[in-house]
């Protein structure tokens, strides 16, 4: 079971790398390779995409060397929840604004790590409040206000 998991994550990464390599190679062929005297903008991306493609194929053939098994059960659920919350954040940010979306993110991540609900809310409100004070009010970073304006 463990070996199968290691193989699947290792193969997934290698496969994605191979797709990325092919995409860059295809993109590079649309540009000029220049001459020996003046190498064009396609040269570097093409060479490194080729290296990536070769390394990805080797990784696919060699299997899950040094790979770790993916988490199972509750640990897996927590990693998926925290990743989903993090990935939702940039979508929510323009709509809900910095304060609300970040309080929600910090609070929900803390809660998913088994922090008591009141403590998670307190941690989120205080830490985001301090960040807002330092970065927005003192350093002038223009955080998105969203529909509510802060």
């Amino acid at each position: 079971m463990k070996l199968w998991q290691q193989r699947s994550v290792s193969n997934l990464v290698a496969l994605v790398q191979l797709i990325v390599a092919c995409a860059f190679m295809a993109g590079a062929t649309q540009m000029s390779f220049g001459s020996l005297q003046k190498p064009g903008p396609a040269v570097t991306p093409f060479i490194f995409a080729l290296i990536l493609a070769v390394c990805s194929i080797v990784a696919l053939l060699k299997g899950p060397q040094d790979a770790e098994p993916m988490p199972q059960g509750e640990a897996r659920r927590t990693v998926i929840v925290v990743s989903a919350l993090a990935l939702s954040y940039p979508i929510a940010l323009p709509w809900l604004g910095f304060s609300i979306s970040t309080v929600l993110l910090v609070g929900l991540v803390a809660y998913s790590l088994k922090m008591a609900r009141q403590q998670a809310i307190l941690l989120a409100v205080v830490s985001v409040g301090i960040s807002y004070l330092i970065f927005h009010l003192l350093l002038g970073v223009p955080f998105p206000g969203g529909l509510v304006g802060f």
Binding site: G34, D66, V79
Partner: protein, 504 residues
């Protein structure tokens, strides 16, 4: 004589109140980072990079370097008291340090670790003071062909020493260079690999959010996983010693002197080479001390030499790693790559001209490291109990805060939502890469060295008028090309050698 004048100038910069504050803050933050399991020095520097935008570049570099060498001190505290190394360079210290703590000798172990770190750290800074300007002076004669070969050599060498499968490291070097090619071509101005439906990609992908994602957000996911798997059980700290119990006996000092000396020299030399020298040097130093010891059977059971050697080695290696960074502008490890990022975000071009063009930055940093090492020695011993208690802060408190820091930091680089996307995606990708057995340092190196390689490739083509064989006729490029060939052939040679050994 001029080195002394330059050093005095450096002290005039380092002793400015703001820089003293930065050195002290860096030392304390570094120690805390070293103490806390999970977020290593690379993660902490990545997370704190954006905060340094608004401050003077020399102050920023003093702060970031302080975090780096401070973390080497801090790592030993939890290795000895809790058997939990705060960062990878302190893993070896757990072997004998924790055993000493269990025997009620935590005080001498901590004191020897601190003294060894101070001796090695100071020796390392003396090494930088004299070697970096010499190397930079030699490198001033470098033209684009030499830079091209140096960049290619760095990209070839680092993956050989980062550990793990070589093809994985080269894959990430390639990914790093490819990410760096997104946006405007550095010589012709052509927009590359930026589809019309993602307009911000035309500006390229900033190095900082990628690194923050790879080291910060990925660590958030990893900590979340480990916290749940450990069922939320915090570590137990052995009793922390009082200040009076810290001083080692005459016998301890006598037994530690030679390991500290050997660890210092060994670490410094390993630090000059590409790769995570601060980690590798601890293992080599431990092995060396065990081999040279009259009582090798004591190793692993509380031998003070097993603490003195590795703790000295990792601190001098940290200083040694700064030499290629400051003299050539080439980072040989992920952390020095991040420090380079800290210089570049202020618009300063790293390279051999750094010392000439920005003396306040270079000499200010050097002088601050002398001061910072003394600060660490003074701060760490009395505050050891407090730092040890910090290690009990649970990931459920730290993880959301690290995520918050990363998001705020990434957004404030360009006030752009795109950077937040890059941060989060890099974090998720970084977590998967770790699971698949990839170490992210080569990706960081690729992103930094890639643009330099590409720019010097075009310039070299023009200089040598397309006759690439000319590279073999220039002495420096010929040496570097020979080294590259050796690096490429080395694995084939060792494999053939091992096979013939087996057959024999």
């Amino acid at each position: 004589m001029s080195v002394w004048n330059d050093l005095l100038f450096g002290f005039s910069v380092a002793l400015l109140p703001i820089n003293l504050l930065a050195a002290a803050s860096g030392a304390v933050i570094g120690t805390i980072v070293g103490v806390l399991p999970g977020l290593g020095p690379a993660g902490a520097i990545a997370v704190l990079l954006p905060i340094t935008f608004g401050i003077d570049p020399s102050t920023a570099l003093v702060l970031l370097a302080g975090i780096y060498y401070g973390s080497m001190y801090g790592g030993s505290i939890t290795s000895i008291l809790v058997k939990v190394p705060g960062e990878a360079a302190s893993v070896v210290t757990t072997l004998d340090g924790y055993q000493m703590a269990r025997q009620g000798r935590a005080g001498p172990a901590l004191a020897i670790a601190a003294i060894g770190s101070w001796v090695a750290g100071t020796f390392g800074v003396i090494g930088i003071t004299f070697l970096a300007p010499m190397l930079a002076k030699a490198a001033l004669t470098f033209g684009p062909p030499e830079y091209l070969c140096l960049a290619a050599l760095a990209l070839l060498l680092l993956p050989q020493v980062t550990g793990g499968a070589i093809w994985k490291s080269y894959a990430l070097v390639a990914v790093g260079v490819l990410i760096a090619t997104i946006g405007q071509d550095p010589t012709g101005g052509l927009i590359r690999f930026a589809p019309d439906f993602i307009p911000p990609l035309r500006q390229g992908i900033d190095f900082v959010p990628v690194v923050m994602g790879l080291y910060g957000v990925a660590e958030v996911l990893r900590s979340a996983e480990e916290w749940i798997m450990s069922s939320g059980r915090p570590e137990h700290v052995t009793s922390t010693p009082k200040l009076a119990q810290l001083w080692p006996s005459r016998e301890d000092l006598k037994r530690s002197a030679a390991p500290i000396g050997r660890g210092t020299v060994l670490g410094f030399l390993i630090g000059l080479l590409p790769g995570p020298g601060n980690i590798i040097s601890t293992y080599i130093s431990y092995g060396l001390e065990k081999k040279l010891s009259k009582h090798p059977e004591e190793f692993g059971k509380g031998a003070i030499e097993g603490v003195a050697g590795p703790e000295s080695a990792n601190n001098s290696a940290t200083a040694g790693q700064l030499i290629p960074l400051l003299a050539l502008g080439i980072p040989f490890s992920s952390i020095t790559g991040l420090l380079l990022g800290g210089i570049m975000i202020h618009g300063i071009v790293p390279g051999p001209r750094l010392i000439v063009d920005h003396p306040h930055l270079f000499w200010g940093l050097i002088a601050s490291m002398y001061i910072g090492n003394v600060m660490l020695l003074i701060l760490n011993l009395p505050m050891v109990g407090l730092f040890a208690k910090l290690s009990l802060l649970t990931p459920r408190l730290l993880t959301p805060l690290v995520l918050l820091f990363c998001i705020v930091g990434a957004f404030s680089i360009n006030n752009s939502l795109m950077d937040v996307w890059v941060l989060i995606l890099s974090g998720c990708v970084g977590y998967l890469l770790q699971k698949a057995g990839y170490e992210p340092a080569p990706l960081v190196l690729g992103m930094i060295v890639g643009p330099m390689l590409e720019a010097s490739l075009t310039q070299t083509g023009l200089i040598i008028e397309g006759n690439w064989l000319q590279l073999f006729s220039r002495p420096l490029t010929a040496i570097m090309l020979a080294l590259m060939i050796a690096v490429l052939l080395w694995p084939i040679f060792t494999r053939a050698h091992n096979r013939s050994k087996k057959l024999a």
